[in-house]
Point group: C2
Chain length 459, copies 2
């Protein structure tokens, strides 16, 4: 794009969106947004977190990230920062995971794989069997033991590209990763390969948790890069047959002690009313957990920093929470709820950012009609920032349990087109994050919790 | 993000947005979007265009891109494909451009620079002078010859980060690149360094056209990486002084013959009414011109391909136009208008994509009140695709001249947060483009021109 006359005529039409009803709110939100866009620390904080390396629950890197974000919360100006103990799943991939195919001519094809999180290992030995191709999950029961016995089952369920909201495609195709291993084991399969839950086609396998059903044998399961998945699908469609062999040293070590990291600014008028803003600090052990969910952590820290730096003392208590163990156990989320119940805390509102550090497009709210009617009135204040999507819906895995104690919940909804290119893969690194997009997401969340803090919510 | 219960409760709220008023239009648009998301060729086409290398007007690569996109339009199913001759500016950077600073202790600092497009060269010799720091363009006249005579002027105008619409910041800070060299020359400066028009801080200089005022000497001008700009600003703020030396072999070779590449599908009912959809084929000579504007070209080709593949015969004639020479001359745009006038063609609507291949957020329309009232009624059809921004405004530099013959104009408005990280720089490469974002932009434009083709516009 050059800078011709057209461009300037376009500029003439940039009128700021004035929300006449609430000019003071509009100005305050503009202050918050500008503070974050001009002085924001989220991007630098994310770089520092990513430099630690991946932060799988129970790993030494997760421990380092706890200490690092504790310091970040202090520097952000929190009145109080603490570590909240929680029991977390400790699973390790182990070194030397491999998978390969052998065709009928004896030619060997190495696959680019990643063992699924929480999956059984093969103790460093090859587990082999004939490869069985399945691209419709609902056909497995009909195929039954006759087809599955002793096979290596390959679930090839591409994410549906026609869903504009990629999380919908993730939810649908994800059934193979979540339930495939136990379903295959039910009918005697030896192991499972799953097409990565990726919206693009490339060489990187995407991991993620699987869930064993205790009624069936726990068989090893790996994710396959989408490139390899397409290659196999093409070849098997032509009638080629393969033997597949999987090997790894994955091991489930059970529960260990870890921590949520929490910082708060005490409310000036209603200190007992708590507003939580959070992301999860743990990540998968591939990449750097930049979008998932370093972004949500640094955005939450940024909310405290921006309010503090602007000298805004919120009426209600605002807590930034780095939840531990979202990816493969949910231990941090449970501990946060348990502590809230034990202490009789009043949690009025919670928002989570766990859909990537991309340009914010809106929020989805999980709360009662009255409270929704109330928050929906704030929508015009966000329009000039491109935040148009304002709807009922879920929130986040970490804050979800707070529903039990009546908390109004909310999820930040960023643009989702690129999320599943990097999600749970080696490609989820700091350089895949845009500073401005990250900052705008932080600003959107900060503005929203400031409004809740000012006006409260009728639950 | 893992796949907990929260996620599924969120899914429950995904109701498709049904536009009751126009169910048939809604369905047809869904078909177009799905065709592009499932069978789209835009991403592969972009890869092939980018493999040619940068496509500065008059370069051998630009000629290759003409031939390649001509074939792409044929393969897309155009009824007719042709090359439209145009005279374009032919400027060359030349090899060995350098710039460095020397401080008072004699220490030399090499700068990461890129000569501004259309700029004079130094014929391979160093042009040196004391470095003068300017961060307010409106102060230059007051500084005058006394301050500027024999200096190397450094314009340090960062893009204003508080503009949510980054093009606004680009327009404002861009005054230094556009007008700085001639203004500095007016007061006797020897050469100019300009902070890159980049929204991030990194090591890559961003080029772009400058415009000489013929009343003043034409002095050489280079863009500086934002990292170097910040480093210099910091040091000069501490009182450090530098001598700067610039050297290059840039040369303006004048006008040469080149071509716009055009493909059309003839209208079935009103073939004489033309709807143009376009981008520009030329790029700067850094990077691969992926977002600027390979994206706009392949999206326009994709529009024809999708309509053809779906068997949709438009009522009005639809033309995909790859304009040449948008970046440093506008020769293609002039030729397209001249031809339209010479042939007495009736151009009813034109849309350009020249703001990057990012997630589409909306359109800006440059047309009369009646036509705007008409197109605005289509907005609800686009809401389910996240396309909310529907407003008056400019269109694009290539289609802009069509205003003279009364054409209704429109610009695709993608998310702009990342555009100025890569714009006119080495980083504007294929790998910086997301397939889904690119496809959604193509789908948005195709849906809009299909509506115009069906219903026409009352101009």
């Amino acid at each position: 794009m050059s800078i011709g006359r057209q461009f300037f005529s376009w500029l003439l039409f940039f009128f700021p969106v004035l929300v006449q009803a609430q000019p003071a709110d509009s100005l305050q939100i503009r202050k918050i947004v500008n503070e974050i866009l001009v002085n924001g620390q989220a991007y630098q904080n994310l770089r520092d977190i990513c430099r630690i390396g991946p932060r799988l629950s129970g790993s030494p890197q997760a421990e380092k990230a706890i200490e690092l974000t504790r310091r970040m919360l202090q520097q952000a100006g929190a009145d109080k920062v603490w570590l909240q103990p929680c029991l977390v799943t400790h699973w390790e991939r182990g070194a030397g995971e491999t998978a390969y195919l052998v065709d009928s001519a004896g030619t060997k094809f190495t696959l680019r794989i990643s063992t699924l999180g929480n999956s059984m290992g093969t103790d460093g030995k090859d587990v082999c069997g004939e490869l069985l191709y399945i691209n419709r999950f609902d056909q497995v029961d009909a195929m039954g033991e006759k087809m599955l016995r002793d096979k290596i089952v390959f679930f090839d369920l591409p994410m549906n590209p026609t869903h504009i909201r990629t999380f919908q495609a993730y939810g649908e195709s994800g059934i193979a990763r979540r339930n495939g291993p136990s379903l295959a084991a039910k009918y005697g399969a030896r192991a499972v390969l799953v097409r990565s839950l990726a919206s693009n086609v490339d060489a990187y396998p995407h991991t993620g948790a699987t869930r064993y059903n205790d009624s069936f044998p726990k068989i090893p399961a790996m994710a396959l890069s989408t490139q390899d998945a397409e290659w196999i699908a093409e070849n098997m469609a032509k009638g080629k047959k393969f033997t597949a062999c999987l090997r790894n040293r994955a091991v489930m070590k059970g529960e260990v002690l870890s921590y949520n990291v929490i910082g708060e600014i005490k409310g000036s008028v209603y200190p007992e009313e708590i507003i939580s803003i959070g992301g999860h600090l743990d990540s998968w052990d591939l990449g750097e957990g930049a979008h998932d969910d370093g972004a949500g952590c640094v955005q939450s820290i940024e909310a405290l920093r921006a309010l503090h730096n602007l000298g805004i003392r919120p009426k209600r208590t605002i807590r930034a929470v780095m939840f531990m163990n979202e990816e493969n156990g949910g231990g941090g989320a449970r501990a946060y709820l348990d502590s809230a119940i034990a202490k009789g805390e009043k949690h009025v509102f919670a928002i989570e950012s766990d859909a990537g550090g991309f340009s914010p497009r809106g929020f989805s709210f999980d709360l009662g009609d009255q409270a929704y009617g109330q928050v929906k009135k704030w929508a015009p204040l966000f329009a000039e920032y491109g935040i148009h999507r304002w709807e009922r819906g879920g929130s986040g895995a970490d804050i979800g349990p707070l529903k039990k104690i009546g908390t109004a919940l909310c999820g930040l909804r960023p643009d989702s087109q690129r999320y599943f290119d990097v999600h749970h893969a080696e490609t989820d690194v700091f350089s895949a994050v845009s500073k401005r997009e990250l900052d705008l997401g932080a600003a959107a969340m900060t503005a929203l919790i400031w409004l809740v803090s000012e006006y409260g919510l009728t639950l």
